[in-house]
């Protein structure tokens, strides 16, 4: 009996809580999907913020529209297409790979290949152009190091 009372007393603070906080979103799954998608949409009235991180009214509206469309069963792609149709391609933070953005997406990797190729070429060329320098013995190297100290 005493244990039961103690157990009850321990539980008391729990009862004092008014309750579990409710998620703002009606549907957390859709909310999460919406926020992920909204990260890829540029807020047009802000300077350079995604809709997901913006306090602006316009972004709130877009988020609301996205929620509604998702509830109505639209796919992410359909929602993006709708936004592009209304506001143009510049709402996309993640530009789709097409003719206009090909250089953008390829450039880093082309540059990497080019840079590596040039480096390897240069390293090889150096090797052939620098005649074997007189190799210094460990002793000489030590003496040189001592002199520099």
């Amino acid at each position: 009996m005493r244990y039961l009372l103690m157990a009850l007393l321990c539980l008391m603070p729990m009862f004092a809580h008014a309750g579990e906080a409710q998620d703002i979103a009606d549907d957390p799954v859709i909310e999460k999907r919406m926020m992920q998608l909204a990260e890829k949409v540029r807020c047009l009235v802000c300077q350079s913020e995604p809709v997901s991180n913006s306090h602006s009214d316009w972004s709130k509206d877009v988020r609301q529209i996205m929620r509604e469309k998702m509830k109505a069963g639209a796919t992410d792609q359909e929602i993006m297409d709708l936004l592009v149709e209304r506001f143009g391609k510049s709402v996309l933070f993640d530009p789709p790979v097409d003719k206009e953005t090909m250089p953008l997406w390829l450039a880093p990797f082309v540059l990497l290949l080019l840079g590596s190729a040039v480096l390897i070429y240069q390293l090889r060329k150096r090797k052939s152009r620098i005649a074997d320098e007189p190799s210094i013995s460990a002793e000489d190297a030590q003496r040189a190091a001592d002199l520099l100290k």
Binding site: L44, V45, W58, E85, R86, G88, K89, S90
Partner: protein
């Protein structure tokens, strides 16, 4: 030794782009709706909510759709210019009261005058979204076939009115 001049060449090309970029307006987003049919909708009029308006009602006329709201500061700047324009009776101006309380919108028109042929009320902003509205005020020029021919983001001022909007309206009316 061409490869040593390469950095300079790249830089020169880059500067040309930077120079061209200087004058550009980064905030303005060209509307993809230009030269497309104005999205259809049915909305109640601001003063008489039982009466509805639809863009189809304007078939055969060139008209301006002006998106405004009582809470919008720049709208107050363009208001006198719209008043002036409406007196000249050149073109129909339809006002779209965007995301605004009905009574606030009406109060604004009573206080500052009503330049609109009629005003419709878009309380939840759904129609505004369909038109790609993202900054109020915005003004659309719509032709006789119901196609959007021009979209102005920001306030109407004497310069863009006389140089862009009115010439376009006249041209469209002549067609």
């Amino acid at each position: 030794m061409i490869r040593f001049i390469l950095p300079f060449v790249i830089f020169v090309i880059l500067s040309v782009f930077l120079y061209k970029g200087l004058g550009r307006d980064t905030r303005e987003v060209p509307s993809p709706l230009v030269n497309k049919a104005a999205p259809a909708f049915v909305l109640p009029k601001l003063s008489e909510p039982d009466q509805k308006f639809s863009p189809a009602d304007m078939k055969g006329k060139v008209w301006l759709l002006n998106v405004w709201a009582s809470w919008c500061g720049a709208c107050k700047d363009e208001h006198p210019i719209l008043m002036e324009l409406s007196k000249q009776n050149i073109v129909h101006i339809i006002g779209l009261d965007y995301k605004d309380k009905r009574e606030d919108g009406e109060a604004t028109l009573q206080r500052a005058g009503d330049p609109y042929t009629l005003t419709i009320s878009d309380v939840d902003g759904k129609v505004g979204f369909d038109y790609g509205v993202y900054g109020v005020p915005e003004t659309y020029v719509i032709d006789k076939q119901g196609v959007i021919r021009y979209k102005l983001i920001g306030a109407v001022n004497p310069e863009n009115l006389t140089q862009t909007i009115l010439p376009l309206v006249k041209e469209l009316q002549a067609k």
